[in-house]
């Protein structure tokens, strides 16, 4: 009899264990770069780990890295779905149409697409207002540069990147109206070799501050070697330039990812469009280092002003390159205009491909 009881208990335990297993929410990620890029994909992977930490027993996560934007995306997404993932984060802009296609096929799976603009009942989008950080580092650059010129390593001329360049220059010119930037387009998100070359060229042309909208730590390392300052991108890159990094614009996806996974667990997930900034904690500034106290203080004040909504980086008057007034005094650029930004503000020494 005792034996039977034990057996029953063991069975019950086994059944409840498998039940718990079955109830675990599987969360999948696809990354465009390697998780070890110490930039964009690395930060998304930090968010994935945060989900595991926060919701431990209730979720399990997995990822596919280095999924190139192109014909492989659909298969990668479908593979995650078929492996039982019910919430899938697609973390690159170029995944957009594939996400929409696969989402249509699997209406019971929730999809989250970073930086895109196409949504569906089971597809939400999210992005962060990196440009708020760009404005701050523009101000710092104008204070710290002796030559009055920064070098900007840019990836692709999409609105997100153009917006960053504009915000940087607007910030810089709020401190030094004659500040200049030189832009080099590397046409890649992640290519340490190309990024390093671009940094060298910019420094050779007289830039004594380097900032980047690409994902590797190579520009930071080149700047450290050449003895100029630089800003980290996407993640805190201080390890790669302890005396070089002034600050970094960090994408902190963790709170958003955890809240979305929780929403699926609670059954309250809805398709939303989230655009978070300093205020919601999606954009975080790394510690202000390697700068005098007065510059640090200015940066902290600007950060606080943006967070409190007292300062908008795209507040008028703003003129474009041709001198046309784009934003009137007392107005700010709307989100819709920011999302589709395809013009430079006055003073950018570069031409956008038309």
């Amino acid at each position: 009899m005792k034996g039977f009881k034990l057996l029953a208990a063991a069975l019950a335990l086994a059944v409840s264990a498998t039940l718990a297993q079955a109830e675990k929410l599987k969360v999948g990620f696809i990354y465009v770069g390697p998780v070890g890029d110490h930039g964009w994909s690395y930060q998304h992977d930090q968010g994935r780990q945060a989900i595991e930490k926060a919701l431990g027993g209730k979720v399990s996560t997995s990822y596919l890295e280095k999924v190139p934007e192109g014909p492989d995306v659909e298969r990668a997404l479908e593979r995650l779905v078929r492996a039982g993932h019910k919430l899938i984060f697609a973390t690159s802009f170029g995944y957009m149409d594939s996400v929409i296609k696969v989402a249509k096929k699997y209406p019971d799976v929730k999809f989250e697409h970073a930086t895109g603009y196409k949504r569906a009942a089971n597809v939400a989008t999210y992005s962060s207002r990196f440009y708020e950080g760009r404005y701050i580092i523009g101000q710092i650059a104008a204070k710290m540069s002796k030559k009055g010129m920064a070098g900007y390593i840019a990836s692709f001329p999409i609105p997100e990147v153009v917006r960053g360049i504009n915000a940087f220059l607007l910030g810089a010119r709020s401190v030094n109206p004659d500040f200049k930037i030189k832009v080099v387009w590397v046409n890649t998100w992640f290519d340490p070799g190309k990024e390093a070359d671009a940094a060298k060229v910019l420094i050779a042309q007289g830039a004594d501050i380097i900032t980047q909208h690409t994902d590797s730590t190579a520009p930071m390392q080149v700047a450290a070697e050449k003895g100029v300052y630089a800003f980290g991108q996407a993640s805190d890159m201080i390890k790669f330039g302890p005396r070089t990094q002034l600050t970094a614009i960090i994408d902190d996806w963790a709170p958003y990812y955890v809240s979305r996974a929780k929403a699926v667990l609670d059954g309250g997930w809805k398709s939303t469009d989230t655009w978070g900034g300093l205020k919601s904690g999606m954009v975080v500034m790394a510690p202000y280092t390697n700068m005098p106290d007065d510059v640090k203080k200015m940066a902290e004040q600007t950060e606080a002003a943006i967070r409190d909504g007292k300062l908008h980086p795209f507040a008028g008057p703003i003129h474009d390159q041709a001198g046309k007034l784009r934003v009137k005094e007392g107005e700010v650029l709307s989100d819709k205009e920011l999302l589709g930004m395809n013009w430079y503000v006055k003073g950018v020494d570069d031409k956008l491909p038309k």
Binding site: P34, S62, Y63, L64, E65, K66, P68, E69, G70, P71, D72, E74, R75, A76, E78, R79, L80, R82, A83, F93, G94, D97, K101, Y117, F156, P157, I158, P159, N187, L339, G340, M341, N342, P353, K354
Partner: protein
């Protein structure tokens, strides 16, 4: 020191066994790699090579992935047979994709079956036109086709980049770099799952080239020029014509693969349309002994290493670099086995007088 001596006549048996041996060695090395990383080698090999073959979905994905590899690989096989080294299939793929996409982008109103046929023809023409440049430079100026064809890859990539960011950008796409989505007859008809008629075209290309190489006069010319250019000259075959022929052929097939990918798997033109199919197809061509029917199987095998790599990432948490390392191992063993089929290794203790460098 080690000296390679050419064998007078390579064993015909070993010529066919060599790739199988290479495959076996690559699998063994892969198993060792998995074991060193702390994974059960048998389970890893199962996830890698067997599991993708066990569901209808992944079989259809295998065909999708193999389609461009086979289309390009079979063209390159003929090219390499003639001792013409077209390394730029990736650029020809892009050129074909651009040319074929001209119809949905510039003439969106023309949307019936003839439009799709025109797209495919334009794709093949675009690829052939891109391949014509190195062919011309080689036959006219004797320029090295390895360099010229490879360099044109980057030109094609930048041209595509410029088009999708500039003149061909989707006006309703918030300035994002992509063309309009292809609809209706601008999309390849689907057979099952994501398998589109490009797969049928690939098989047809293999069969046609198999026949031509085995029976046709053109196939004989290609083989002769490749094996013995002087003999071919005396036999009345024009080397220049063969160079032109194989370049145009392999370029057209790569271009066809490009437009089939864009109109099939992707559905629009965007900055990156191929994860290096044009380069992977070089491995496919060699793994297939430069013989059309074997290229078909080589294409499926290489596609399997991609799918298996992805499955292993999910099931075993193995980095995607393992898939790349595995493809590298495969190529290494194939080339090594190939060399040993054609050459004998002899050891000599010292150089005889007069042979020193």
């Amino acid at each position: 020191m080690i000296v390679l001596r050419k064998r007078p006549a390579p064993s015909p048996l070993w010529r066919w066994l060599a790739p199988l041996l290479a495959l076996a060695l690559a699998v063994a090395a892969g198993a060792l790699l998995f074991a060193l990383m702390g994974h059960d080698p048998l389970q890893s090999l199962y996830v890698y090579f067997i599991e993708p073959l066990t569901s209808a979905w992944s079989l259809s994905e295998l065909v999708v992935k193999a389609t461009p590899l086979v289309l390009i690989g079979v063209g390159l096989a003929i090219c390499y047979r003639a001792n013409v080294w077209n390394i730029g299939a990736e650029g020809q793929l892009i050129a074909g994709a651009i040319a074929g996409s001209a119809i949905p982008v510039l003439l969106p109103g023309w949307n019936d079956p003839t439009a799709l046929i025109a797209m495919l023809l334009l794709g093949a023409l675009g690829g052939a036109a891109w391949a014509a440049v190195p062919a011309f430079l080689k036959t006219r100026f004797n320029a090295n086709e390895i360099l010229t064809s490879l360099m044109l890859v980057y030109v094609a990539g930048l041209l595509l980049d410029w088009l999708v960011r500039g003149p061909w950008r989707d006006p309703g796409g918030f300035n994002f770099p992509k063309t309009v989505s292809f609809e209706g007859w601008h999309v390849m008809p689907v057979l099952t799952g994501r398998v589109h008629i490009g797969a049928v075209l690939a098989v047809l290309a293999v069969l046609a080239l198999w026949f031509v190489m085995a029976r046709g006069r053109a196939g004989f010319a290609v083989r002769t020029v490749g094996a013995a250019p002087r003999a071919a000259m005396f036999g009345g075959f024009s080397e220049a014509r063969v160079v032109w022929g194989v370049f145009l052929l392999s370029g057209a097939l790569a271009g066809l693969a490009g437009i089939a990918e864009v109109a099939g798997s992707i559905g629009q033109l965007q900055p990156s349309i191929s994860p290096g199919y044009g380069f992977t197809a070089i491995i496919v061509a060699f793994l297939g002994r430069l013989s059309p029917p074997a290229v078909l199987f080589a294409g499926l095998l290489l596609a399997l290493t991609y799918l298996g790599g992805e499955a292993a990432q999910l099931a075993l948490n193995i980095s995607d670099k393992v898939a790349q390392a595995f493809q590298g191992l495969l190529l290494f063993f194939i080339l090594a086995a190939d060399t040993l089929v054609h050459y004998r290794i002899t050891f000599r203790h010292r150089l005889s007088a007069g042979e020193g460098a």
